[in-house]
Amino acid sequence: MSATQVPPSGGATSTEPMVRVRGVHKVFGHGAGATHVLRGVDLDVARGSVTVVLGPSGSGKSTLLRCVNELEEITAGEIHVGGELMGYRWDDRGVLHRLHPKVVARQRSRIGMVFQRFHLFGHMTALDNVMEAPVQVRGLAKAEARARALELLGRVGLADRVDHYPAQLSGGQQQRVAIARALAMDPELMLFDEPTSALDPELVGEVLAVMRDLASDGMTMVVVTHEIGFAREVADHVVFMDDGVIVADGAPGDLLDDPTEPRLREFLSHVL
């Protein structure tokens, strides 16, 4: 019971979607204690589009996001990002190989991830947080990385907070630094895992504003959130997950204003 997305309104130069998820299952644990979190998910995310994933807690939305970034190993199925199979390689004889951690790290470096709890490096200033990956992973010169980091921190409105430690920043500021940190690697795809759920209500707006700005710049984004307003306004495509499968998907207008799927209707009645 899964739906495949038809890429919304053209604009993509390639027919290959940015993200292609096919028949993905994820099982945590073994034997009797095993939990089947993803039960066959198919999803396409077109280049330059914003996909918002909705669903009740425990429906598998965050797990799906983490699987795309290989923070979780999938149990079955396959995930392609930018046309590249994530985490595995088929050889000429049709045998599947696990990729070396070095290659997996390179694959991850093209995907930005923003976490619910920010996870800024607590012992580094905002500037050092943003410079870290370009210098350590890309081998960028410090001066160059610094200039770029300052530019990115300016873009998320934190030019005057570059020397602050995460503990000296508000939740909204920390999340904006986290977005700048992910952008510093020039990702082709940004994943947002409930980026505003840990924030006080009055701080949500500043983070959503940065994300809106990013979307209008043409960044491909997959956003797990409960912000229906954001979904309605920014998303090209909305996906509703329940119990490990995608039960409804479509354009935000159709899906959110006139939900036909009873579980989605039930969910929206609780969230709105």
């Binding site: 970034n69 923070l71 951690p101 070095k102 790290a105 390179r106 694959q107 991850r108 470096s109 093209r110 995907i111 930005g112 991830m113 976490f115 709890r117 996870h119 800024l120 490096f121 607590g122 012992h123 580094m124 200033t125 870290e132 990956a133 350590q136 992973v137 907070r161 020397d163 602050h164 430690y165 995460p166 503990a167 000296q168 920043l169 508000s170 909204g172 500021q173 986290a178 940190r181 992910a182 690697m185 006080d200 209500p201 009055e202 701080l203 949500v204 707006g205 500043e206 959503l208 504003a209 409960h226 912000e227 229906i228 307003g229 954001f230 969230v271």
Partner: protein, 339 residues
């Protein structure tokens, strides 16, 4: 309603911007403090009296040998043993702690067995063993087991009493420190490593750049404690036997001059002095590795290095001050509240 104070009632300042006059109230009487202070004073006087008036302590002899060249050289050797063995132990301990977290079961097993053995046998026994190694294995060779040998060393030349003592102390200490480092690594939020992973950092870099520096906050205080403990454990190197350290030097002088008590006091005073200095160092290290946490050092990139910023004793800014100063918590044009 009358007030005994002559100041105006608080919170009635005419200018609402002005800071209010702080409340002036008599403190709660604390007679317990005075009683305990008097009691402690009496006990302290008794202790000083007991030390000073007892002729057995021979304070003149203590003062004489406190600066004796043999004793001061003993202090030097004790310091070399303490810091040398701690440095070696820290390197080993970090390796062991990382091995214990490895997904390689061989690595995990080796680290577990090492800690099991070196923590499970007395340090004294281990030191005796290291002293006897040149008897047990007169020659060490590098080569294929049961096969040809490439290099051969005489153990007596390679492992002198000093190296036997240093190795013995370090290998034992590493087992304890490994557990401290492991606790430190476990104290870092797994989200930190995950975020680094998501940025494409490899495991080695994640450990070195992200996890270990934050684990230091937890590792440093008990390691300082271990260093202080090691300072005194060096007195056991007589088991090797290594005979130049502070404890052996002072007791040798004591035996030779038939004045063991004053020389024990000399040793105790030196250990106490070094411990005091170590405590100051530990305090600075703790402050350095605590930066970015619980208020931490003020923003700015100046005071780098563990002993860097000194004299910045003014009220440290708290997190809430920065949050308020940020001014992003209100008047937001994008404010959008979804329940």
């Amino acid at each position: 309603m009358s007030t005994t104070s002559s100041t105006p009632a608080p919170g009635r300042a005419a200018d609402p911007q002005a800071l209010p006059e702080p409340l002036r109230a008599r403190p709660v009487p604390r007679p317990g403090r005075w009683v305990s202070a008097a009691l402690v004073l009496v006990l302290a006087a008794m202790a000083v009296n007991a030390l000073v008036t007892n002729p057995a302590f021979r304070w003149d002899t203590v003062w004489l040998y406190l600066r004796d060249v043999v004793v001061v050289r003993g202090v030097g050797w004790t310091l070399v043993l303490t810091f040398g063995s701690m440095a070696l132990a820290i390197v080993l301990a970090v390796a062991l702690a990382i091995m214990r977290r490895s997904d390689n079961p061989v690595m995990r097993g080796v680290a577990w067995a090492y800690i099991w053995f070196f923590r499970g046998t007395p340090i004294y026994t281990q030191l005796v063993f290291w002293g006897l190694i040149s008897v047990l294995y007169p020659r060490l060779s590098l080569g294929v087991p049961f096969g040809p040998e490439f290099f051969v060393f005489s153990t007596r030349d390679l492992i002198t009493a000093f190296w036997a003592a240093l190795l013995g102390l370090a290998l034992n200490e590493a087992a304890y420190l490994a557990e401290i480092v492991r606790a430190g690594l476990a104290s870092v939020d797994p989200g930190q490593a995950e975020a680094a992973k998501a940025l494409g950092m490899k495991d080695g870099k994640i450990m070195r750049r992200v996890v270990l520096p934050q684990a230091m906050r937890v590792i440093v205080p008990p390691t300082g404690n271990e260093t202080i403990s090691m300072l005194k454990t060096t007195s056991l190197v007589v088991a090797v036997p290594f005979t130049l350290d502070l404890m052996y030097a002072t007791s040798a002088v004591g035996n030779r001059t038939f004045q063991p008590i004053p020389l024990l006091v000399v040793a105790a005073l030196w250990y106490l002095l070094i411990t005091s200095v170590l405590m100051v160092g530990q305090h600075h290290l703790e402050r350095y590795y605590g930066r970015g946490f619980d208020g931490g050092a003020p923003a700015g990139r100046s005071g780098r290095g563990p002993f860097g910023s000194r004299g910045t004793r003014a009220r440290r800014p708290r997190k809430q001050d920065f949050v308020r100063a940020a001014g992003t918590t209100k008047d937001d044009p994008f404010l959008e509240v979804t329940p």
